[in-house]
């Protein structure tokens, strides 16, 4: 019988130079502090000896174009590549030194996809989508120099309206948790992104976060209050710039009723940064 041996969620631009340039010294210092915390969490994750690492994150119009935007997509196949793009945005460029390929946990990825179809969770499947900073920035900090466990990348459409609802994200997570429980593997699962930034995806409002909303969400996560989380309207997530919380809600569905513990929370102004761990062990 399989189980989730480690579960966490964290911001995914773990790039001091980016925040140093766009926010200033306090932004750089805050993300450096977060990176230290995520590094410690990674050692704890690897100590739990996961056979696979499920990563739930979003696409930043790097992989999927407006020609087809999957609400949820599972990466299948044997290997997954790091995104390579000439003159990429600086926090993707920061991935340049990382390995070009990572193993996929093919059996678990296939089960998530196939059993999803049977259960009414209609995932898109991709054999070719590469991974950008939303996946590899947290994974590389978590694993450091250690080998990266075979991955199961799952994309959630956080940014192209209409997005899947909070309720649906939790249901998808519930399905992933069921597949893991029915399988033979020890699985680590992370969700990435957030907290609030880019309110209403408006360039004119770039640079502000919503700490009151973030504190309210974190309190609900700490309380394991799935009911409150599933009621969150997309309109409010959009207005506060909390689109990437959808990734976290998939994780919530997988580990519920576990409660979250805050490992890091920082209000930067441009974005609020966080790392949370769920008490699954």
């Amino acid at each position: 019988m399989g189980r989730i041996v480690y579960a966490a969620a964290m911001s995914h631009v773990l790039a001091p130079d980016y925040y140093g340039k766009n926010v200033g010294p306090h932004g750089r210092a805050m993300v450096e502090e977060l990176i230290d915390v995520v590094g410690v969490m990674g050692r704890e994750m690897l100590a739990a000896r996961p056979d696979a690492l499920v990563v739930v994150a979003d696409d930043h119009l790097n992989v999927f174009s407006f020609d087809a935007v999957p609400a949820f997509c599972v990466r299948i196949g044997r290997r997954v590549e790091r995104m390579v793009q000439e003159d990429a945005i600086e926090f993707d460029r920061a991935l340049d030194g990382l390995p070009e390929r990572y193993p996929v946990h093919e059996d678990l990825a296939n089960r998530v996809l196939e059993e999803g179809m049977e259960a009414g969770i209609d995932f898109a499947a991709s054999w070719s989508a590469p991974l950008d900073h939303a996946f590899l920035s947290p994974v590389s900090v978590l694993c450091g120099e250690a080998p990266v466990p075979p991955l199961v990348p799952v994309w959630v459409n956080c940014f192209v309206a209409p997005q899947p609802s909070a309720r649906r994200c939790i249901e998808v997570g519930r399905h992933i948790g069921r597949v893991i429980a029915d399988g033979p593997w020890r699985v680590a699962m992370i969700a990435t992104g957030g907290l609030s930034h880019f309110p209403a995806l408006s360039l004119a409002r770039l640079g502000t976060s919503d700490p009151a909303f973030d504190r309210r969400v974190i309190a609900a996560l700490e309380a394991g209050d799935e009911h409150a989380l599933r009621q969150l309207p997309m309109k409010e997530l959009h207005e506060t710039g909390s689109h990437e919380l959808l990734n976290w809600l998939v994780l919530v569905g997988a580990v519920s009723p576990a409660r979250a513990r805050v490992r890091f929370f920082g209000e930067m102004g441009r974005i609020d940064l966080a790392a949370l761990q769920w008490e699954v062990a």
């Binding site: 174009s65 407006f66 993707d92 995806l201």
Partner: protein
């Protein structure tokens, strides 16, 4: 508002270096075949990123186009 068409051009500017170079040199000519309204076309030609965002252009595309990104 042809949100799709604005984003098709933005995505191409991000991913297609030759198209981007042509756009930088001759924006109006580069967009000749794009299915845009006059207002959208003007915003592209002026490279008014806020206006393009208001017209439905994806924030994530607008901030990540090499050399033109609005970050």
């Amino acid at each position: 508002m042809s949100r799709y068409d604005v984003n098709v051009v933005l995505y191409r500017l991000k991913k297609d270096a030759a198209f981007r170079a042509r756009f930088v040199n001759e924006p109006r000519a580069a967009l000749e075949r794009a299915d845009l309204t006059d207002e959208e076309r003007d915003a592209f030609v002026r490279w008014d990123v806020r206006r393009l965002n208001e017209l439905g252009g994806s924030l994530h595309l607008l901030v990540s186009i090499p050399h033109l990104g609005a970050h």
